[in-house]
Amino acid sequence: MTPLVQIRGLTKVYHRGRERVEALHGIDLDIPEGDFVALMGPSGSGKTTLLNLIGGLDTPTEGVIVVQNRRIDQLSGGELAAWRAAHVGFVFQFYNLMPALSAQRNVELPLLLTDLPSSERKRRARIALTLVGLADRARHKPKELSGGQEQRVAIARAIVSDPTLLVCDEPTGDLDRATADEVLRLLQMLNNDHGKTVVMVTHDPLAAEYARRQVHLDKGTMTDKGVLA
C-alpha cells in the first residue's frame, strides 16, 4: 500500500543574512495512513521544519514530498493554500486562536473557504466542538477558556473540515501534565476512532508515548525512523 506521506531526499536550507543554515538534510520518511507519528529531537534538530514541510506551510530546498499521491513540493503558493485547506488540520503549542472570535467562530474559520452555507458551517462547528467536549463553551472567547480548553478548540478547528492529516506542533508544550494527557488522549481518539493520520512534534517523551511510532531527528538528519512507542 502507498503511504499517505512519502518523503525522499528532503533538504531545507535557510539563509540568515550571509549565514547558510541547513535545517534538514536528505530526509527519507514514509508515513502510512492512520499512523500516529511523534517527531522527536533536541531544539534545532529540524523537527518543526520537517512538520512545516509535511503540512505544506513551507517548501523544501530539495527533495520530494508526496501526500496522498500528490507532489506538494511542486505546488504554487495558491495551490498549496487550497491543498492545506482541504487536507491538513493544524494544532500549535500556543493554540493560535483568533482572540476576538468565539470558540464557535474559530472552529468555523476553515469552513469559510468552502461553499457550505452558514447553517451547515455552524452545524459542523458544533459537531466538532461536541467531539472535543466543548459544546457548552461555543460562545466563549479564547480569553474566557483555560489553556486545555483553548487547545481543544484548536483541535476542533483542525478537524472541522475533516482533513486526512493532523499536524501538531508541540500541542501539549504549554499545558500541565493532566491537561496535556487529556489533549493527547483526544488526539489518540481521533487517530484510533476516526482514522486521522497524526504527525506530532514533541520534546516530551511522555507525550510521545501516545504515538504509535517515534521518529528522532538530530542536526537535520534522522537518527531512526520507526521506534515503536
Binding site: L57, D58, G77, G78, A82, R157
Partner: protein, 387 residues
C-alpha cells in the same frame, strides 16, 4: 457577507482605538457633508442654469435698474424667442432675520421662462389675473405656515410704497414647486406682480432690475449677447448680457471662490485623516501578524488575506463615512433654520453621497494597501514564529 464577522472582529479587536479612529472619520465626513452642502448651495444658480437663457443687466452694476422699454427692443433681436424681466424687492418678513428673495415679475413671461418651477394651472391663472397676487415657494410656505388665500405682509428694504412707508401687502394666490432638489432650493422665493408693484412704488417707475432672455440656439448665445449690448451702447443705460451660468458663477464669486475654499479645507481634513487612520491601520495589522499567519495556515490564499485587510479598511471608512454623512443630513434642518433664509437652502444630495462613497473607497485603498501588501508577502513560518 460570510467574512463580515471576521472583519468585524478584527476591526473591534481593540475597541477604544477603533472607536476613536471611527470618530475621526465620522467628523471628517460630517464636515465633508456640510461643506459639500455649502458648495452646492452656492453653485445652485449655476447648476440650474439653462444654456438657452441669457441675463441682461446694467453694464457696470447689477443693482442699477434698466428701462422697462428695453423689453420690445430685446424681443426683436434675431434668435431671441422670449424675454422676461424681474426686479429685486429686498424683503424682510416680520423681523430682520426672516429674509428671502422677492422678485417683481410679469407673471406669464417669468413662469414661461423658468419651466423648472411648476405652478398649479389655476394658481398660475390667479397670479396672472390678480394685480396684488403673489406666489411663494413651497418650503417658504411650510417654514412660515402660510396658506394660499391669506394676506402676505412684507416690508421692503429698497422700495417705498405710495404711502411713503416700506410696508407692502400682497394676496398669496399660489405655490411654486420644483422636483429637482437644486431647483427646490432656488424656489425659496416670492414672486409678486410687477404691474401692481410698479404702479404702487414711490420711485423708480418704468424701470426693472434685469432681463432674462431665451434664445433659440445656445450656440448663438455669445453673438446674441453682443447684439443686445450693441443695441444700448452709448445710451445712459448700457447693458451687459451673458449666459445665465456665467452670471450665476460671477455672482457667487463676489462672495468668494467657495468651491476652491471647500476643496482646500477638505483636502486638509482628509490628508490628516489619511495619516491618522493609516497609522492606526498599519499598527493594527502589525499586531495581528500571527493571526494573519494562522489564516494563511488554514488555507486562506495570499490574495484572500490581502482582500481581507483591504476590506477591513473599507468597512472602517464606510461605517465612519455613513455615520458622518448621516450626521450632516440630520444637522441640515437646524442649520437652515439658523440661517433665517439669508443663505441658500442647504441639503445633502445624491451627488454628495456618491462623492463621499468614492472618497471613502479611495481613502480605504490608500490606508489599506501598505498593510495589505505586507500581509500578502507574509511567510507563514515567519508569522507563526513572531518574526
Amino acid at each position: 457577507m460570510r467574512y463580515l464577522p471576521l472583519l468585524w472582529a478584527g476591526l473591534f479587536r481593540k475597541k477604544t482605538r477603533t472607536i476613536l479612529t471611527l470618530l475621526s472619520i465620522v467628523v471628517a465626513f460630517a464636515l465633508f457633508g456640510l461643506l459639500q452642502a455649502v458648495k452646492i448651495a452656492f453653485d445652485a444658480g449655476a447648476d440650474m442654469a439653462d444654456a438657452k437663457r441669457l441675463l441682461t443687466t446694467a453694464r457696470y452694476s447689477i443693482i442699477e435698474p434698466l428701462p422697462i422699454g428695453y423689453l420690445r427692443r430685446i424681443e426683436q433681436v434675431r434668435g431671441v424667442v422670449g424675454v422676461a424681466y424681474a426686479d429685486w424687492f429686498g424683503s424682510k418678513y416680520q423681523n430682520e432675520s426672516n429674509a428671502f428673495p422677492v422678485f417683481a415679475v410679469d407673471p406669464a413671461r417669468y413662469l414661461d421662462m423658468y419651466p423648472e418651477f411648476t405652478v398649479n394651472p389655476g394658481e398660475r391663472e390667479a397670479f396672472v389675473r390678480t394685480r396684488t397676487g403673489a406666489l411663494a415657494g413651497r418650503r417658504l410656505m411650510n417654514r412660515f405656515g402660510w396658506k394660499v388665500g391669506q394676506k402676505l405682509p412684507i416690508a421692503s428694504e429698497i422700495h417705498a410704497n405710495r404711502d411713503g412707508t416700506m410696508n407692502w401687502e400682497f394676496d398669496l394666490v399660489g405655490i411654486i414647486d420644483a422636483e429637482d432638489p437644486v431647483a427646490q432650493g432656488n424656489s425659496d422665493m416670492v414672486l409678486i406682480n410687477v404691474s401692481y408693484f410698479d404702479e404702487a412704488r414711490a420711485q423708480g417707475k418704468g424701470k426693472t432690475g434685469w432681463y432674462v432672455v431665451r434664445v433659440a440656439d445656445s450656440t448663438q448665445a455669445r453673438t446674441i449677447s453682443a447684439t443686445i449690448d450693441n443695441l444700448f451702447q452709448n445710451s445712459p443705460d448700457e447693458t451687459k448680457t451673458q449666459p445665465e451660468k456665467e452670471f450665476a458663477l460671477g455672482f457667487a464669486k463676489q462672495i468668494g471662490d467657495i468651491g476652491a475654499l471647500v476643496t482646500r479645507i477638505l483636502l486638509a481634513v482628509f490628508f490628516t485623516l489619511l495619516i491618522l487612520t493609516g497609522n492606526t491601520m498599519a499598527q493594527s495589522i502589525r499586531e495581528r501578524i500571527p493571526e494573519l499567519g494562522i489564516l494563511k495556515t488554514l488555507g486562506f490564499s495570499d490574495g484572500k488575506v490581502t482582500a481581507l485587510v483591504l476590506a477591513e479598511a473599507l468597512l472602517l471608512l464606510v461605517l465612519g463615512g455613513a455615520i458622518g454623512m448621516g450626521a450632516a443630513v440630520l444637522s441640515m434642518p437646524t442649520l437652515n433654520n439658523a440661517t433665517g433664509g439669508r443663505f441658500p437652502p442647504l441639503f445633502v444630495g445624491l451627488e454628495s453621497w456618491v462623492l463621499a462613497a468614492i472618497v471613502a473607497a479611495l481613502v480605504a485603498l490608500v490606508i489599506g494597501l501598505p498593510p495589505a501588501w505586507r500581509a500578502r508577502r507574509l511567510k507563514i513560518v515567519d508569522a507563526l514564529s513572531g518574526h
